[in-house]
Amino acid sequence: MSAGWPLLSLLIWLPIVGGIVVLWLGERRQLMAKTAALLFAVLNFYLCIPLYCDFNNTTAAMQFVERYPWIESFNIYYHLGIDGIALPLIILTVLMTVLVVVAGWEVIQKNVAQYMAAFLIMEGLMIGVFAALDSILFYIFFEAMLIPMFIIIGIWGGANRVYATLKFFLYTFLGSVLMLVALIYMYSRSGGLDGGSFAILDFHYLQLSGVEQFWIFLAFLLAFGVKVPMWPVHTWLPDAHVEAPTGGSVILAAITLKIGGYGFLRFALPITPDASAQLVGWVIALSLIAVVYIGFVALAQRDMKKLIAYSSIAHMGFVTLGLFVAFAVATNNIADASQTALLGLQGAMVQMVSHGFVSAAMFLCVGVLYDRMHSREISDYGGVINTMPVFAAFMVLFSMANAGLPGTSGFVGEFMVILASFQANFWYAFLAATTLILGAAYTLWLLKRVLFGEIANERVGALQDIDRREFGVLGLLALGVIALGVWPQPLLDVMQPSVEQLVTHMLAGKL
């Protein structure tokens, strides 16, 4: 049905065009602008159906490929295509945008049209990041994405938003500039002006020496490590989350963090496998610090959003751990290493998708409370369950998913990564598994202080339970969280060939 349609281009440009339309409709035609935004978001969601149905999950090759010359003198192409690694993340992006538009429907009072437009444009750019196969195209989407997020936090953010936006922008920008240097270096290594290539897939097979790989890897580590974020370049995230409006936090946690993980999968692992193997100890150390240290730091938070932001960092620690842990298995045993790599990579991917659902849901829950009480301080709450029982049920469910309870999506990825790290080293698994205790401690303590107990003050006593709109948003996420937890195999099926090919490629090395 959709054969011949440039589906990926549509997915990228439709929301961007939509964003412009919404801006044009403007603040005076607010309802129309909002409706148009919802329409575009839902339309994009419908576009995902042929994308998913026509996706062939028996091959690792790129699909839905579009390739047109763009800047011919530098061999830069408008080159799109997806494999099993990009597809789940694109679907996640599209879904989250719909939820964000619905969640902001009544809540945003100031400049609604601009708010919606920013998210639509953001959506297009993020899909662009996941679909780009030309590294310059990727880089442009990657950087352009900062602008709408900068605006979202800067305009609809909290009191301290200027500090947060600057920190967010400088952190991520500093990281990615070095990546551009690395990309240009590889272009010149592949031939430069005499037939050199910016294609990501060509980079995968570019022969690079150990030293070259080392420096390129460091550039990637910085660029994507900031995005993930890895310890110690993580401190922009709590500030950005705290100041961002609910929708901004949702997109930030659910999608933009995933771009870091995706970058490692698409660039660092296949392009610099030997450097990855060489530096694996460092990456694992940073990941485990993220799990253990950040787990403790989350325990000390008094601001709900900060707590969830820190828990995001801890959960993303599992992603980087899963991605790299296979390199820590003795390299003489290729069978063992590839089993570890499969577990680790699949686990990291599942963890990313699951974290998309769970962190989005947690931030939406905080948003629901914030819209009513205009406070994020844990100590302002207590006994919310008395006045908002339906909301409390949702929040308990998502908190359990956050604590990695089996049967929810939060368990699947962590479980696989712990299994994978056990194969590398008992103590890696030991430290990673402390999340079972730490995650439960900070999440349940939050629940205890916010939801349970007697009604803490009159304002809690006057709370209204969630309405239909909020119920719909949280209900949809709840279904996703449980479905993925009870049966993750369909997601694994989509990714399997691509992940297997990546594993073979990265374990073979380039030297």
Binding site: G383, I385, P389, V412, I437, A440, K448, F452, G453
Partner: protein, 653 residues
């Protein structure tokens, strides 16, 4: 005739269906509908479980081991959801659904006035589902699923009265302490996935003899047997779930939950999951004497020391709770001496009489208008005869009165320890033997204080004091019957036949059942044989001591208390575990968390590096700004100096 597969599926899913209906529509559904739909769900599960038990026990049905669906497949590792139905499972599902059904009925009376009525029914049905998935599992993944799911429902139910500060503290404590156990459990599962390459019980157990000799190194230079490491890790999980010292601290606090769930979850079923798990893993544990020894000692410590605390408790539910801890210790001791079948046998008899004791305590609590302090009771025998008699039966079963079900399980357990050669069995034997005296003492202390003597409650309570309604007393009676007879009826079938052969593996050198089998010649003979052993006299001495102290001379305990103040304080403080954990772990991690956040994130990363570099840039620019004065002669002067410097460099080079 239904195919067995569908029956197994129906057993697991019908409580889930009931729970979902009652839970999702809990605000719209009338109360009667909520309890009927869940009772029917569990009722179906119970009926079918009996059918399955009959099929396995009488028809000797072959072991059923099938996969339902593939949860996930990664490389060569396949995670599946499936059922294993053998003798062990058949006993467990019957006990679980049976007790659950009675607790459901009892709840109608106990929770009669509670605003969370429908929610409560939804939770206990959900618990039943989770427990069934746990015991019916044929693989480690699903075991962990059920394991954590019962923990979740336990969390929800302990905190059921979410306005009580003590309840919401207790449920968080329970979950986190359990998570400490699960931490070990998950590492054990990860070890199995790595070394055995499978999650399936059968596939793993097949490989055990081959891997028995393998050693691994966790610390440099220290070789540990692989099986010992795995078994110890798995058993840490059991220590959490089955509340063994030192992870027992959550169970007494869990009494903050409504009494029906104390009976169902924190006495009869969930807390025995650890015992079940070790029995299920017998092919693994058999190959590690060190792990068995560890199990044995932990169990013995729990059995003896937790029983002692029971003597000084005044809350009627807490007495029963410490008794549960102690009895779980007994079961664990049985596991440690490789008498897995005896552990399961004691698990079964205990499920009945301990559920009975809890429900009887609950009946007292209803009658006393939610007063749980035994010092404010007394003389209840006249007011609540059914509760009294059933409670007496439960207590007799618990202390091992000859012929009652607890007598068979406990006496055989003690004999099994006696015959064992596992290191530590000698100490354990003394622990379980003196435990018998302690058990009898605290059980009859409770009985005498609450039901005998002069009433110590006020006039108002007395006017409203009456026997509980039939929905409460009927489950008591229905539990009292198996508490008396189930032991004598099933002991030969379960222990001395080949019933557990397909599920439990015992190496010949660990076999303590064989001498028991030689000794055993029918129930009556066994009673006679017991008269020659010490246990029965210790129990009698315990009852006598309780009678003398708490009935004959009620002033005497006070004298003892004053004389042995230090011992009394130690017991009353529960050996200080709570204070220690609260200070070191709960408080310590909070302090550490604050310290890390303040110095790590706020001071070092943000203060020094992020904002520091920004300040650095600002500082430099402030200095450099001075150079840009805007006067032309300043710039000209600078240019001349620069030119001079350049020239001199060129010349002097």
């Amino acid at each position: 005739m239904l195919s067995m597969e569908k029956i197994y599926l129906a057993i697991a899913l019908s409580p889930l269906a009931g729970s979902l209906i009652a839970g999702l529509f809990c605000r719209r559904l009338p109360r009667a509908a909520a309890h009927w739909v869940t009772i029917i769900g569990v009722g179906i599960a119970f009926g079918l479980s009996v059918l399955v038990l009959h099929d396995v026990l009488i028809n000797k049905a072959p072991v059923y081991n099938q996969t339902l669906y593939t949860w996930a497949a990664v490389g060569s590792l396949v995670f599946e959801i499936g059922f294993l139905i053998d003798g062990l499972t058949a006993v467990m599902i019957t006990v679980v659904t049976g007790v659950s059904l009675l607790v459901h009925i009892y709840t109608i009376g106990y929770m009669h006035d509670d605003p969370g009525y429908n929610r409560f029914f939804s939770y206990i049905s959900l618990f039943t589902f989770a427990m069934l998935m746990l015991v019916m599992s044929n693989n480690f993944l699903q075991l962990f699923f059920g394991w954590e799911a019962v923990g979740l429902v336990s969390y929800l139910l302990i905190g059921f009265w979410f306005k009580r500060p003590t309840a919401i503290f207790a449920n968080m404590k329970a979950f986190i302490v359990n998570r400490v156990g699960d931490f070990g459990f998950l590492l054990g599962i990860a070890a199995i996935a790595y070394y055995f390459g499978s999650m399936d019980y059968a596939a793993v157990f097949r490989q055990v003899p081959d891997l028995a000799g393998q050693n691994i190194m966790l610390f440099d230079g220290v070789q540990w047997s692989l099986i010992t490491v795995i078994c110890t890790l798995l058993f840490i999980g059991a220590m959490g779930k089955s509340a063994q010292v030192p992870l027992h601290v959550w169970l007494p606090d869990s009494m903050e939950g409504p009494t029906p769930i104390s009976a169902l979850i924190h006495a009869a079923t969930m807390v025995t999951a650890g015992v079940f798990m070790v029995a299920r893993m017998s092919p693994l544990f058999e190959y590690s004497e060190a792990a068995l020894s560890f199990v044995l000692l932990i169990g013995a410590a729990t059995a003896f020391f937790m029983g002692l605390i029971g003597i000084v408790q005044n809350d009627i539910k807490r007495v029963v709770a410490y008794s549960t801890l102690s009895q779980l210790g007994y079961m664990t001791v049985a596991l440690g001496v490789s008498a897995y079948s005896v552990a399961i046998f004691h698990l079964m008899t205990h499920a009945f009489f301990k559920a009975l004791l809890f429900l009887a305590a609950g009946s007292v609590i209803i009658g006393m208008h939610h007063e749980q302090d035994m010092r404010k009771m007394g003389g209840l025998r006249k007011f609540m005869p059914v509760t009294y008699w059933t409670c007496l039966i439960g207590s007799l079963a618990l202390i091992g009165f000859p012929g009652f079900s607890g007598f068979y399980s406990k006496d055989l357990l003690i004999e099994a320890v006696h015959y064992s050669t596992i290191p530590g069995a000698g100490i354990a034997y003394w622990a379980v033997l003196s435990g018998v005296f302690v058990t009898a003492l605290y059980s009859f202390r409770m009985l005498f204080i609450a039901f005998h003597g002069k009433p110590r409650f006020d006039q108002h309570t007395r006017e409203h004091l009456h026997e509980s309604p039939w929905v409460v007393t009927a489950p008591l009676i229905l539990l009292a019957i198996p508490s008396v007879i189930i032991g004598g009826l099933s002991v030969e079938l379960l222990l001395f036949g080949d019933y557990f052969n397909s599920s439990i593996t015992v190496l010949p050198e660990h076999n303590v059942i064989a001498p028991l089998r030689d000794m055993y010649h029918g129930p009556f003979n066994f009673i006679l044989h017991a008269l020659g052993g010490p246990a029965i006299y210790l129990a009698a001495a315990g009852v006598f001591a309780a009678w003398y102290l708490y009935w004959k001379n009620p002033g005497l305990p006070d004298t003892f208390r004053q004389r042995l103040q230090w011992l009394y304080q130690v017991l009353l403080r529960k050996y200080g575990f709570d204070e220690f954990y609260q200070f070191v772990f709960a408080g310590g991690s909070k302090r550490l968390a604050n310290r890390l956040w303040r110095t790590g994130d706020v001071l070092l990363v943000d203060g020094l590096i992020v904002n520091g570099s920004a300040k650095m840039v600002g500082f430099c620019s402030r200095i450099i700004r001075h150079l840009q004065t805007g006067y032309l002669f300043h710039y000209a002067f600078a240019m001349i100096i620069g030119l001079l410097a350049l020239l001199s460099w060129v010349v002097w080079r």
